[in-house]
Symmetry: C2
Subunit: 773 residues, 2 copies
């Protein structure tokens, strides 16, 4: 039955492979049954062509045995026109298989992976390739539901020319698995892909690429990650987490990605010729962080990076003595040579993670006291167009590191450790956006010729170092433009990147509650709704699942939204991808309703909230964030809060696994009056030194008659939050024991607060936290 | 001056290298100055010829740069006739150096190594070779003084055709160092050597070969150890300790060596085609012990091995969860295939070292609870000419191991786990001593074809497995004799092994004290001294530094030796290599002298003591062993001890690093009367589960009126000693709290003792011990 329905395209396609002509059969399939049958019968050289259209709820098991010259191909009739939607996934098993042109969107995997290079432990794929495909927003319904979008097993597999973006649930986007001898020495290639934006997850396990794990960290991997573009891959502190041996990272562009390339476990990796492009406005964008033995970091270019400590442009870590398998192996035998740091702040940091001062509060197995040894830092270049006070930061002694022929132009400003980073008066010239190349003053500088430095044969651009050689990543003062930002070089040719359609935003004037409700449903993402009447009365929540601005027509004559909904329901129900801007509105509740809340379940993506010039009163919660919800930005500005039982409740992640409910909370120029419990209850649990969020900035605000009923006795409760700034506020007559309890060992600061009759603002150097590992 | 004195041998020697003729210069040197000058001037192809004779107190620094076709050679005028004696060593630095024919003896290194393939950290040797040399008894003066006899650094170096024996001080005989990139991926070759007897050290750090250490255990090593003969290498539990990755152990013979080949740290090693030959009389001789990931154990032949648990013929260990770097990594992805175990007792042991029952007394980081996973045991053969009750021992669950096509001929006797080891009725035939090959019943058995089993292309003898293939190490029922015990195949051709000259022993009759003293000095090792008079009076110690028997002419009319020496001096001063047999002698002291004692310092080698039919009375100590002294055997038989303040004092190793003062103590058919302190005080400190000594056997003896003044209250004090057997003794009226306190978790047993009015004999399951790591 099924066999009959397969259309064998008799026009044999001619394939020119390895200089010899061979025939291949195209087998056109229209549904999963036909596809299964075609797979079952496929021979080397066959092409199975999936018909254009949506393939919904399909679990494709592509098992076949092609060969070196005649792979078996599964391809879209038209690349990008075959959409894999719903609960779908694709697993490959066998030899020499190619998947080409599929578009995974509007769905999620029903299993632990969207694409897996294995059917099961016995049947893995080898010599197989996923190319020219897209996986977009293919998220599980909640961020704690873990999966992978591409899971490598077997050997000699490839992921190339794909576009992959938008993962917001738990789990690395791409992971290479090495458990079992079938998957070691894998020589996988991850090349020429466009890794589009991945939003912050608010906790660990959101790498864009992870190679192995600590349990397989002894395995020889030999995975190559080359020529990829990482565009704002902000999932967590590690954009790439290398956890096995002999991996190579070459010629990738890390563009404004809030994290680092980290050699987390495993040893002897090569990081060569990569670009790390930062942003002056972000301290989250890192470079390379090193743990372990024998890595070579050469020819890399770091530009405009402002990340600190763990996220510093070069972070060479301290290790734990005789470290457990899953912790921090000491840095030894590492080479950092011929790299350039341009306009980075404190780019070179050594002994990062040293915490010997915490040896009384942490177990010995958590103390990173072993500084880098047998490490060479040579022939590197640092250039700052504005002087840097600390171009080198030594978190421990530098005595295990040999520094040779490293130079800096720091605009003449002095700094500590200048003996290992010599001031020279060289100049650079712009070659293209973000790229500066040497123009003058470097050619006379002598280079250090370290052990096996003769193997650094080429520079960042691939030009030979034999004739002309210089310190830094670029060997020559003349070079062709790399066209770094030509995004067409990455991902599938059929998927447009960087030419995002900016549909013109519409404005909806609403004069009645009915119009308001209708407009919220009808508006397109980006639209604005203007409240043209004085008063709106709502009995049910407004569902915010897109980008929407709601504001009063006249900021000086603000509209009131009176909410009379069921208890514990919010005025604004923040759905995945809901981004609400609320301006100049008076929100009034009935005491037991909420102003804003996330969904209780199925928060498959994040929401944002930006409130300015509003008045919020008579609610049970101003904001209630449920477990597994996450917001990247919550901003309140020039807003009055009064007579609400609770303020911002962002403490639903109580598993102490490092997760938290919001990345950034900004409160500026606000007034809080008669909020009897926490103003902010913001929690991150678990001792995990590599988590660097969340962030609370609370400034220029006034607090009166708040906190009296709070059981925990802390008005601004930020337990476990890494970055907190409380300054220029006025606390008056709040019946609490503690205004705030800050974490001194982390980036918690306070200044210029006026505190009267309101308890203390205390700083504790170390907070007791549950060990996560 | 010096230059002039160098004799350039103008008769250029012709060298045929790589098919092309080249000339080489022979430079004849007579002393260290000439040698230094010759080294300083050496060119590729040169041969520096050291004159025959003793070279005393020379520190040779052989620095030179030969090349692939023209190495620089340092050789003996006549191999073996150039003796390097006194405080001497040899270090190599450069490229393509060869050392040939030297004989290191009668001395010790003044540095940390006898031979080192490096001058310092900057100047290592590469492509260099130590060949045709001997290092014999080149011990430091005390066993706690650590050194190495051959220390590898750099890359591509070789130790071949050497004879190396007799190391008794601390430190592996041969060690490969991998700290620093210059010494990784070393591809060193240790081949065709004869590793002669190494006596037990009585504690750790006495491996014959160690490859790396835990701190460099992540390094790729690629050292090859092949075609060597290990003759009674009994230093400690690890004959070979592999601590790095990708090492290969091929075609070695482990002959009655009391230890195992252990993959202690590091991963992905190959153990292929080795012979492990045991002895029915020794439970110390082991096979292969596995820790870590990815090892392949193939084509090995295990014969007559009786080692247990850690020393079992195959010991696959349990690991520690997330093990610290220096402890026990879980076994994963290991393959054990095509091995043969012939007449071994309980050869296959899995989960060795499991100690979950000790989780209340040990820290979590010491609990080996992780059993082997992803491990394949296939196509192996077990043969017993007498049935074995437990051919497989499972110290933990076997559920992580895949067993396929393993067969046993257990003479029909049933056993547990017979589902993974199938009984078959095959037969074997003797090919030569120790070697049995298949004769019948195997050819019909199906083999398991595991992942990459096609790479097991050859068998134990190097015969192809392609045409004829069988389970076990030997693929064919016809094979040429391997001539395993043809010792001429190993070591230098000029050094005779196995043809030890047995000089005829002389007998010296002595009738006076003067004659006795003279005879002890004059006797040759192996001689016997006969006491022909009734009484001898000594005022100073007899120095025992050779093998000597002293006995009364008539066992029924025993001579008395009355010792009137200085207090705390012994009758018999046991010196390094002193081996005393004392028969039928009455030794009498003055209360404050000792019967036997080691030297206080400079015990560069061990001593043995064998006392039969004697009477020992009125001494401060029967035996006093000082720190750093060591005895392999102390035997007392049919001897009466009375009125001595102390018995055997062997508890000077109090550093709790696993060391102890004697390997074996046997006391049988003795009587102890009025020994007010310990009869035996025998101590080993430090929690080190891989130490398997010492041994005390105390049987058929009687104890009366002993122990009353002992502060520790234990008559037979064996704290920390692993093997203790106290049986068939009679304890009567000894005023002690405790007769003995045995260690239940170890091999401490007692039976059939009669205890009256003498305190208790207690067994404690776990003794508190200081953690060593």
């Amino acid at each position: 039955m099924i066999q009959k329905s397969i259309l064998i395209i008799s026009a044999f396609l001619l394939l020119l492979a390895c200089g010899e002509r061979s025939t291949k059969v195209g087998i056109y399939v229209k549904d999963i049954n036909e596809l299964n049958a075609a797979i079952a019968q496929a021979n080397p050289g066959d092409e199975i062509i999936m018909a254009n259209g949506d393939w919904k709820d399909v679990q494709i098991r592509f098992v076949g045995y092609g060969n070196n010259k005649q792979p078996i191909t599964l391809k879209a009739e038209t690349p990008g026109k075959v959409r894999i939607v719903g609960k779908s996934d694709l697993k490959l098993g066998g030899e020499y298989l190619v998947v080409n042109g599929l578009y995974f969107t509007e769905g999620s995997s029903p299993t632990r992976a969207v694409i897996e290079f294995a059917i099961n432990n016995d049947t893995v794929a080898n010599h197989s390739r996923m190319t020219n495909c897209v996986i977009l927003d293919y998220n599980k319904t909640q961020r704690n539901q873990s999966d992978l979008w591409v899971q490598f097993k077997g050997r000699h597999n490839a992921l190339d020319h794909c576009y992959i973006a938008g993962k917001s649930n738990r789990g690395p986007t791409v992971r290479v698995d090495l458990a079992g001898n079938k998957s070691i020495k894998n020589y996988h290639k991850i090349t020429n892909n466009y890794f589009g934006p991945r939003p912050p997850k608010g906790g660990p396990s959101a790498e864009t690429i992870q190679l192995g794990n600590s349990f397989t960290s002894m395995a020889p991997s030999y995975t190559l990650v080359a020529d990829n573009f990482f565009d704002r891959c902000n999932g967590e502190v590690e954009v790439i987490s290398s956890k096995t041996n002999f991996n190579e990272f070459r010629n990738n562009v890390f563009y404004k990605s809030e994290g680092s390339l980290v050699t987390r476990h495993g040893n002897y990796c090569i990081v060569d010729g990569n670009y790390f492009i930062g942003d002056v406005n972000s301290e989250q964008i890192g470079g390379v962080r090193l743990i372990g033995t024998g890595h070579w970091v050469t020819n890399n270019y770091f530009y405009n990076l402002k990340g600190k400590v763990f996220r510093s442009p070069l972070a060479v870590m301290n290790g734990i003595p005789k470290s457990p398998l899953n912790r921090y192996i000491q840095v030894t035998d590492v080479v950092v040579a011929h790299n350039s740091w341009i306009n980075c702040t404190s780019p070179l940091q050594f002994g990062v993670g040293s915490n010997v001062d915490q040896k009384d509060v942490l177990p010995a197995s958590e103390i990173r006291s072993e500084r880098p040894i047998r490490t060479i830092v040579a022939n590197n270049l640092v250039y700052n167009d504005k002087s840097d006070t600390y171009p080198i930061v030594a978190h421990d002694s530098l005595d295990g590191i040999t520094f040779k022929s490293n130079v800096i132009n720091n605009q003449g400003a002095t700094f500590k450790y200048d003996s290992v980073l010599r001031q020279e008066q060289f100049t650079l010239t712009a070659l293209e956006d973000n790229i500066l190349i040497p123009s003058n003053g470097l050619s006379d500088l002598e280079l250090y010729n370290g052990f096996e430095f003769d193997q650094i044969t080429r520079d960042l651009f691939g030009n030979p170092r034999t004739n002309s050689n210089l310190v830094g990543a670029i060997a020559n003062s003349t070079a062709a433009k790399p066209n770094l930002m030509d995004l067409s070089k990455y991902g599938p040719d059929w998927y447009p990147v960087g030419t995002s359609k900016t549909a013109s935003a519409a404005t909806h004037n609403v004069a009645s509650t009915a119009e308001l409700k209708a407009a919220v449903v009808a508006a397109k993402s980006g639209d604005t709704i203007i409240l043209t009447n004085d008063r709106f009365e709502l009995k049910s929540s407004l569902k915010i699942d897109k980008k929407l601005t709601i504001k009063s027509a006249d900021a000086n004559n603000r509209a009131t939204v009176q909410y009379n909904g069921e208890p514990t329901t919010p005025v604004f129900e923040m759905n995945p991808k809901g981004k609400l801007v609320l301006e100049s509105v008076i929100l009034n509740g009935t005491g037991d309703t909420y102003a804003f809340a996330s969904l209780k379940d199925n928060m498959s993506s994040l929401y944002n909230l930006n409130v300015t010039g509003c008045e919020i009163s008579n609610f049970g919660y101003v904001l209630k964030a449920y477990k597994n919800s996450f917001s990247e930005y919550i901003k309140f500005q020039s807003t009055l809060f009064k007579n609400c039982a609770n303020g911002l409740e962002l403490s639903a992640e109580i598993d102490d696994r490092g997760d938290y409910n919001a990345e950034n909370i900004y409160i500026d120029d606000c007034r809080f009056e008669n909020i009897p419990k926490n103003i902010v209850d913001y929690y991150r649990g678990g001792y995990d030194e590599s988590t660097v969020g969340g962030n609370l900035v609370l400034t220029n605000s006034a607090f009166t008659q708040c906190g009296a009923k709070e059981e925990n006795g802390v008005l601004i409760n930020t337990y476990g939050i890494i970055n907190v700034d409380i300054s220029n506020n006025r606390f008056l007559n709040n019946s609490v024991k503690t205004v705030a309890r800050l974490w001194g060992a982390k980036n918690n600061t306070h200044s210029n607060n006026e505190i009267q009759n309101s308890g203390e603002l205390v700083v504790e150097e170390n907070l007791p936290l549950k060990l996560m590992y």
